[in-house]
């Protein structure tokens, strides 16, 4: 119980920095397709760990959303001056078969998007 205030503080920090929704990120803008590639398997037997990669030359930030999860935000990648590319790979949880969407904010302020349907055999969100 003594740890609670620290934990609550960290939680507040996490919420302030959270990935949010696609609508919040776009803030009314429209995303085009073509300059962002999203790689994910067509079929994922285990929804607990699904490999995804994003690659968006010229992007300053790329966010990944899983629309069929309890909360859609998955990750936000911000690239710094020493980023060797605007690409990254990670492993994510998918609750079930759904579309995974990535949105990239480009250096000129425009947005790019890409989506991929992933069929999930065993969901990865417990419950």
């Amino acid at each position: 119980a003594a740890l609670l205030p620290v934990s609550a503080f960290a939680q507040a920090a996490a919420d302030a920095e959270m990935v949010g929704s696609a609508e919040e990120f776009l803030a009314g803008a429209t995303a085009a397709e073509g300059d962002l590639s999203l790689t994910a398997p067509e079929i994922a037997e285990n929804g607990n760990t699904v490999p995804v990669s994003i690659d968006a030359p010229g992007a300053v930030e790329v966010r990944v959303f899983a629309m069929g999860n309890p909360t859609p935000g998955v990750a936000a990648f911000r690239f710094g001056p020493l980023a060797g590319s605007r690409a990254a790979s990670t492993r994510i949880r998918l609750a079930g078969t759904q579309d995974v969407t990535a949105i990239a904010k480009m250096e000129d302020g425009s947005f790019q998007t890409a989506s991929k349907t992933v069929k999930v055999t065993i969901g990865g969100c417990g419950g």
């Binding site: 934990s7 960290a10 959270m18 911000r78 710094g80 980023a83 060797g84 690409a87 969100c125």
Partner: protein, 109 residues
Amino acid sequence: MADGVKPRVKVPSSASEGEVITIKTLISHPMESGQRKDGDGNPIPRSIIWRFTCDFGDQNVIDVVLAPAISTNPYFEFEATVPAAGEFKFTWYDDDGSVYEESKKIAIG
């Protein structure tokens, strides 16, 4: 602090100046999503790593915000430009306030 948290990072030991290298990182962490329930039906509180950064000196390579949808033992692979001999620093921020750090030296040549 979550139990048994151990960061692992793969960085080449040397590169040429300005070369783009691939970095792989993995940290052992349960990434408890907050969506699961225990045997009595009570929700298990969220406990995740919510941010990961990689820097070289005072310059950033990548800054990632993680949601509970990132898998157990968060893994990231990305590329960095090597500006000079020095050290890549990696930092993971836990919901409970813990900060885990790792660094890797890289030589030019």
